[in-house]
């Protein structure tokens, strides 16, 4: 008997998914998160789940977990006192930042502060030139003095070493690390070349300082977790989810804690990708909408798309540019301030505005009657009949439809001089447009054609909006997965150990020979291998995939090209042009091509999860149509009669025509007029548009 466990530590709840390797059966558990020390809720939840299912901890082979620990530490500024050594003349780079306003018309701008204050940044005489030549040797005595001062006078726990052009020659940064660790062997040191040897000092150094800033608390957290698990008798492997959608071992996570940012949402996207493999839908949009935010990810050829940028700790709502930019491999997620708690109001131009401010779960929407009085998206969905008040969260919490209507009447309908249903529909549809816009804009940024894709919709609010969003995007099929409430926790079990990295380095294609190609990849491959080896992973099970960021010479944006094994330099141009044509509807230029970043993705073997996972235990045997309600139909502009199905009672093969609601504990799927769905053999609901509008 063996089992594996996925644990997703969220802001409010921690979700557990325990899978029996033999039967594929799934057991789930929810536990309140303990933000001060998340290891506590993991250990407590694990004990509870093992006891409930009668599982012996010795049978547990893997615990894969994702955590918001690092994200929260940066947002709440709870990291360590961190010092910085920086190339002489450049200590203000963190304050100068992008020299960019994130809003042109709003003059009251607020930017995120760097995590290392100016007085803890000390300059070191040294210089590496852009081509890797040494312009000035490193002043080793100054390094020793600076480190001593930072430790003795300022009590730093972590140090970031940030020198110019260290991607071209890391020797100065590494020498500074040696000196620091000779003086203070316990001082945690992060160098900018190891975090990500990427050209653009502000972003690289910000990433480096944040890595250092969260290292001590990540260490403490993993110490607690590992020792707690050992005490319980756990002998299997503990894995930590990274933002890139791969698993890291604890040693890797301790070295690069900045890579643990956003690991929870990434897991949801990976579960969507996994589901796509299961049902034969290689290209997908993953759409997850909860109480505060909606998150989207694009999946191409069964893989969630990645990028190397992420912005953390935005000062101004969701405005790009108001936070701190990280250069780490991340699942390419769209995040917008749209969720059940999004507050509806009339803005200063007398138009309806919904979000990004959210009532969250506390005080919550007006219909929760928990102190929230402002109209929210959830209130609109209640008023439209899409959420059945006495069936919310499996009937555990009764919603007050009267309070919802009152709030909408007061906050929206009277100000706009429309009826409440019209106001509620407006709130609902504004969110649909916001979500569709975010997908559309993002797809056009990266050249992703979503029209032949399917959408996977989950989260507390996602299934109520998915069909309308899909209609706007002309996406023909929407999948509502079974077990959507614990998608992230299950998603953690579907991914291999993985480490992705890159190095910046310019090379013109016309002069690149086979030796040059090998030389370009060599340092990146070396880094990936040595890190994985240090993390205790046998290299023979690891595959290395090569990718290049390429562009026309002088153009600002790169296209990523994956190199099949043994690709010769002669084929690179052709691969680039094919990728370019796929991304842009522009005639390729008669211009030279250059390589800007060399990327390696090292992957361990895929967990043998797919064949075994069978979460759908079959219908519960209850009455599929529990009741009938009145719901708002946008086509007629009026309320219509509509059946409410109990999702747990639907056998595979059932087909349902809209309008209909399909109720499950965590969410309600809204199927409109002219839409239909079928329950597939895995228990997923697969919806299409019967009216041929798409």
């Amino acid at each position: 008997m063996s089992h594996r466990l996925g644990v997703d530590i969220g802001g409010t709840f921690t979700d557990f998914a325990l899978v029996d390797d033999q039967s594929g059966a799934l057991a789930v558990h929810k536990q309140l998160t303990t933000p001060a020390d998340p290891s506590q809720c993991v250990l407590a939840g694990l004990a509870a789940l093992l006891a409930r299912t009668g599982t012996d901890i010795a049978e547990l082979t893997t615990i894969a977990h994702g955590t918001t620990l690092v994200t929260n530490a940066v947002i709440e500024r709870k990291g360590a006192v961190t010092g910085m050594l920086v190339t002489e003349g450049f200590r203000d780079v963190l304050d100068i930042a992008m020299e960019r306003r994130y809003d042109l018309f709003d003059l009251r701008l607020h930017f995120a502060e760097p995590v290392v204050p100016r007085r803890l940044r000390l300059e070191i005489a040294e210089r590496v030139m852009f081509d890797g030549a040494i312009g000035a040797p490193i002043d080793e005595a100054a390094v020793g003095q600076a480190v001593t001062r930072l430790v003795e006078e300022h009590g730093i726990e972590a140090l970031a070493v940030c020198f110019l052009h260290s991607y071209a020659d890391p020797s100065h940064e590494e020498r500074a690390r040696e000196i620091a660790n000779t003086l203070y062997p316990d001082l945690r040191v992060t160098t900018s070349n190891e975090v990500l040897p990427f050209m653009r000092e502000y972003e690289r150094w910000t990433t480096t300082t944040i890595n250092a800033y969260v290292q001590p608390l990540t260490d403490r957290y993993l110490d607690h977790l590992e020792s707690g698990l050992a005490e319980m008798g756990f002998q299997g492997r503990l894995l930590v989810m990274t933002s890139s959608g791969g698993m890291a071992t604890p040693p890797l996570a301790r070295r690069f804690p900045v890579r643990l940012v956003e690991s929870g949402p990434a897991a949801g996207a990976l579960m969507a990708a996994f589901l796509g493999r299961q049902v034969g839908a290689p290209d997908l949009l993953s759409f997850d909408m909860g109480g505060t935010t909606a998150k989207g990810a694009l999946i191409r050829d069964n893989r969630a798309l990645r990028r190397y940028e992420f912005e953390i700790a935005r000062e101004h709502g969701f405005k790009q540019g108001s936070g701190l930019p990280l250069r780490i491999p991340v699942i390419d997620m769209i995040e917008i301030g749209a969720g059940g708690g999004s507050i509806a109001a009339v803005d200063d131009t007398n138009l309806l505005a919904v979000g990004p401010q959210s009532a969250g779960a506390d005080p919550g929407p007006a219909c929760y009657r928990r102190g929230g009085t402002r109209a929210t998206l959830t209130d609109a969905n209640v008023a439209l009949g899409y959420l059945v008040p006495d069936a919310f969260l499996g009937g555990e919490m009764e919603l007050d439809a009267g309070a919802a209507s009152d709030a909408l009447a007061r906050d929206v309908a009277s100000a706009l001089d429309v009826e409440v249903p019209r106001a509620a529909w407006g709130v609902h549809e504004v969110i649909n447009e916001d979500v569709a816009r975010a997908f559309r804009v993002h797809a056009s940024e990266i050249g992703f054609d979503y029209r032949r894709c399917a959408m996977v919709a989950f989260g507390g609010s996602g299934p109520a909006h998915a069909m309308r969003v899909a209609r706007k995007l002309r996406i023909p099929k929407v999948i509502f997965p079974v077990g959507a409430g614990v998608m992230s926790a299950i998603g953690l079990l579907t991914v291999p150990i993985s480490f992705a990295t890159l190095r910046s380095g310019d090379a013109r294609l016309e002069t690149l020979d086979a030796a040059g190609l090998e030389a370009g990849f060599a340092p990146v491959e070396r880094q990936a291998r040595s890190l994985l080896e240090a993390a205790g992973l046998p290299l023979d099970g690891i595959t290395l995939e090569r990718r290049l960021d390429m562009r026309f010479y002088g153009q600002g944006h790169e296209v990523e090209v994956t190199l099949p094994d043994g690709t010769s330099p002669a084929r690179l141009g052709e691969l680039f042009l094919a990728a370019y044509a796929k991304a842009f509807a522009v005639t390729p230029l008669d211009a030279g091509i250059e390589i800007v970043n060399w990327k390696i993705e090292a992957n361990g073997p895929d967990p043998d999860f797919a064949e075994r996972y069978h979460p759908f235990a079959g219908p519960s045997g209850g009455d599929p149509v529990a009741r009938r309600v009145r719901v708002f139909d946008p086509t007629s502009g009026d309320y219509v009669d509509c059946p409410v199905y109990d999702r747990y009672a639907l056998p595979a093969g059932t087909t349902i025509e809209g309008p209909a609601l399909i109720q499950e504990n965590e969410a309600t799927t809204v199927l409109g007029t002219g839409e239909r769905l079928e329950v597939d053999s895995f228990g997923n609901l697969v919806a299409t548009f019967a009216d041929g509008e798409i």
């Binding site: 653009r200 502000y202 131009t349 816009r437 230029l589």
Partner: protein, 561 residues
């Protein structure tokens, strides 16, 4: 005509803005021009079949606020709507018809649904090069500045005008990039046209004129409500800025009457024999920008929002320069419309205005990389922002236009020059209850082995950024070559091994320095941005001997004196 309730209007309007944003992003992604991809020196617009502006992409620099309706008007006079065919593309870079200088190409495409014209899209981007001397302050006529294209068809009924493309290719320094950017504009307009057709189909719209009217009327009403809150009156201001050889006076008079704003620039000096003259379209865009910032910053740009604003300037003045005055660097005067108008309105809108900013340092660089490749580009450096009531000016942040820093590592790789130092200059922001933003110092060394030419156009080298409401002025901008101060409007030849230092100006402060909370002054001193002496002399704050706390008694005494 269809009418729209507020709910539909919101949903449809949002979608149009999203379409325009989508155009912007696809353009940014395929563009070669650094100004476009790093600085969003571009704009995309959607018009109805009458040429009425519905919306503009959310990201674009202020110089494009409200210029497009005039541009499309010129285009439709040259090629009336009824003569246009699917597959036509109309372009111009005429400074007086477009956005004020030859670098900006305006690309318009009619949208046909079947055979019927339903609207237009337009994109404007800053091209990498347009021939001539480019942006240099020593041009004396527009003819020096590059190739001027009248309103013409780049594509006629689906057939590309090869002659026109050859003409452009022959006249610019980086033909692949320039043509590439031009074609990227064509492509983004195609995407936009498709998106508009889909939008009409999804919402069952046969035409978008009704929507244009509704959107514009709504924006006008919202704008008028807000303008009406400004007390009626006439508010004037005049400032001096640096011209070639002598100062230039800019004057403005803002008249608020009910829900209308009139802005007149009578009293402004004449054009000058340098490329800093401003076509009126640019003056109007900056004026619109100021009023929008001070009223409803979040309002999407369209014609209606600008209807309550009337801008006038005598045809003899530098803010309404006529052909053939050169205009390549029109921003270096035109950007001052913003502090000019902010200053005029400072007393009546004290909680909304922003003190003077340092203005951007835009300079062009021409030379050769160590590897032999030609380098020709515009670069930007920011000084400090002006402070506002309740908000310090941010250090090293551009205004009124926007940009993104060129990282040191990219600059060095691209030019083979070395940046020796890039640091904030503490204390260069104006003093005040809210401090002006500090400037920065950047030192470049020519390590390319070739001659490099820097064309300087810096402002705020004689007239600093003024503080408001008793706030102090920011420090001046200074350029030095090998340690000696040089003419800030000169074309500098930088020999191999030479150094050029740019010291960027500070922004103006807001409010009296002695009203600044002592705790903030203490933090300024600890962060090294205000000296202990300045804390006492200017802010009236005395620190304890160890510098770690405030000497409350001494501070109270000093401030009372």
């Amino acid at each position: 005509m269809t009418t729209f309730d507020p709910v539909s209007l919101k949903i449809l309007w949002d979608r149009l803005v999203a379409v325009a944003d989508e155009l912007v992003l696809s353009l940014v992604r395929t563009s070669f021009s650094m100004n476009v991809r790093e600085g969003y020196d571009l704009s995309c617009m959607i018009f109805d079949a009458r040429g009425r502006l519905l919306t503009q992409g959310s990201y674009s620099v202020p110089s494009f606020t409200g210029t497009a309706p005039a541009t499309i008007g010129h285009m439709l006079r040259a090629f009336p709507a009824e003569t246009l065919r699917p597959g036509d593309i109309v372009i111009t870079n005429d400074p007086w018809m477009g956005t004020g200088h030859l670098f900006d190409i305006n690309v318009m495409r009619p949208i046909f649904r079947g055979e019927r014209l339903v609207g237009f899209t337009m994109s404007v981007t800053h091209l990498p090069d347009i021939g001539g001397k480019g942006i240099a302050s020593d041009c004396t006529e527009v003819y020096h500045e590059g190739l001027r294209l009248p309103v013409c068809k780049l594509r006629d009924d689906g057939v590309l005008n090869k002659m026109l493309l050859d003409l452009i290719r022959m006249n610019v320094r980086v033909p692949e990039q320039t043509i590439g950017d031009l074609m990227a504009n064509v492509a983004c307009n195609e995407v936009g046209g498709r998106a508009i057709i889909e939008f009409m189909e999804e919402y069952g719209l046969d035409e978008i004129e009704s929507l244009a009217d509704a959107v514009n009327d709504h924006a006008e009403t919202a704008m008028r409500e807000r303008i009406a809150e400004i007390p009626d009156g006439t508010y004037s201001n005049a400032i001096s800025i640096e011209g070639p050889g002598k100062a230039i006076r800019l004057a403005a008079c803002v008249t608020v009457t009910g829900s209308d704003v009139g802005i007149d620039f009578t009293g402004t000096d004449d054009p000058v024999r340098a490329s800093i003259n401003v076509p009126f379209c640019y003056t109007r865009a900056q004026s619109n920008y100021v009023i929008k910032c001070l009223t409803i910053p979040s309002l999407p740009n369209n014609e209606g929002a600008m209807r309550p604003i009337t801008v006038t300037a005598p045809e003899t003045c530098i803010l309404n320069a006529q052909p053939p005055w050169p205009t390549g660097a029109r921003h270096s005067v035109g950007h001052f419309v913003v502090p000019l108008l902010m200053g005029a309105l400072a007393e009546t809108l004290p909680d909304r205005v922003q003190a003077d900013a340092a203005m951007m340092n835009v300079f062009s660089v021409q030379g050769r990389h160590r590897d032999g490749g030609e380098v020709t580009s515009l670069f930007f450096l920011a000084g400090g922002l002006g402070a506002m009531q309740g908000l310090a000016g941010r250090a090293v942040t551009p205004a009124p236009s926007n940009m993104t820093v060129v990282p040191t590592e990219i600059w060095e790789s691209r030019t083979s020059m070395t940046i020796e130092r890039r640091q904030i200059l503490p204390g260069t922001g104006g003093d005040g209850r809210w401090r002006g933003g500090d400037g920065q110092e950047v030192v470049f060394r020519n390590d390319s082995g070739h001659l490099f030419e820097f064309a300087l156009m810096g402002q705020r080298t004689e007239f600093p950024a003024q503080g408001f409401a008793g706030g102090g002025a920011g420090a001046l901008r200074v350029y030095e070559v090998n340690g000696a101060v040089v003419n800030p409007k000169a074309r500098i030849e930088l020999a191999p091994g030479d150094q050029i230092t740019m010291r960027e100006a500070g922004g103006g402060g807001y409010g009296e320095a002695r009203q600044r909370e002592p705790d903030r002054v203490l933090r300024d001193v600890r962060d090294g941005v205000v000296s202990r002496e300045a804390a006492e002399d200017i802010y009236g704050v005395v620190l304890s001997t160890d510098g770690k706390s405030i000497d409350e008694v001494a501070t109270a005494n000093l401030r009372a004196s």
